[in-house]
């Protein structure tokens, strides 16, 4: 079974703190993603990565950065946390895209971040 793990299930931080959210996948997937989920808004893509040291902005990258130093690990960084970044953060991974192949994104358990 594909396993995507996230470093914390619950996290409480203060405004202005630097926050690191870690994600690790064990299936040698090339692609990794960070989403945030808010009530009534569904999931929104923050950043994604195709490969080590590679990153691309998603729909809502403002206030976030990412790091991918190893293939299995993708980190989301909040440089200076703000209260509007209180949310559920979900990491996902998938294999390289192939035409006609029904690959799916596998999601981690999520980190519920509260910024006070």
């Amino acid at each position: 079974d594909v396993k995507v793990t996230q470093s914390s299930r619950y996290l409480v931080k203060r405004t202005g703190e630097k926050v690191f959210l870690e994600c690790v996948q064990d299936m040698d997937h090339e692609n990794m993603f960070w989403y945030r989920q808010d009530p009534g808004l569904g999931l929104r893509l923050i950043y994604f990565s195709y490969d080590v040291k590679m990153k691309e902005k998603g729909d809502i990258p403002e206030g976030y950065s990412v790091s991918r130093e190893k293939k299995e690990r993708f980190s989301l960084i909040l440089e200076s946390a703000s209260t509007n970044q209180t949310s559920m953060y979900l990491c996902a991974s998938t294999t390289i895209r192939l035409a006609g192949v029904a690959d799916t994104q596998y999601f981690g358990p999520g980190t519920r971040l509260t910024v006070l």
Partner: protein, 116 residues
């Protein structure tokens, strides 16, 4: 902007009844995903639909895709309480971005309650 709209957003139904959740999306895409989320849990992949006319079934759930109408449906047959969850559809951004971006755009989710 790629938009994904689900309806209804809330659905309360009785066991043994049939119902359909609709997912409309605003531009071409070659992949449509359905996920399930239980309260406090992560997303579980249900179906990946690749082509026009694709139909997939798993137990009491059946998903279909009409790419010309940009519509997918998730049909629930003879509902049981265990199917109570939030269901998300999502569309792949690859075609929309011209191959320059990946990740999924999600609908807001359908919160389904099945009452005995």
């Amino acid at each position: 902007e790629l938009k994904v709209e689900q309806n209804p957003l809330f659905l309360s139904m009785q066991e043994e009844k049939n119902y359909t959740i609709y997912c409309n999306y605003s531009t071409t895409s070659d992949r449509l995903y359905w996920y399930r989320q239980d309260p406090g849990k992560s997303l579980e992949s249900l179906f990946v639909l690749l082509s026009n006319g694709a139909v997939k079934q798993e137990g009491r759930l059946m998903a279909s895709l009409d790419t010309k109408a940009r519509l997918s449906t998730l049909h629930i047959t003879a509902a049981v309480h265990d199917l109570s969850a939030t269901y998300f559809c999502a569309v792949d951004m690859w075609e929309y971005s011209g191959g320059g971006a990946d990740g999924l755009t999600f609908g807001k989710g359908t919160h389904l309650i099945i009452q005995p």
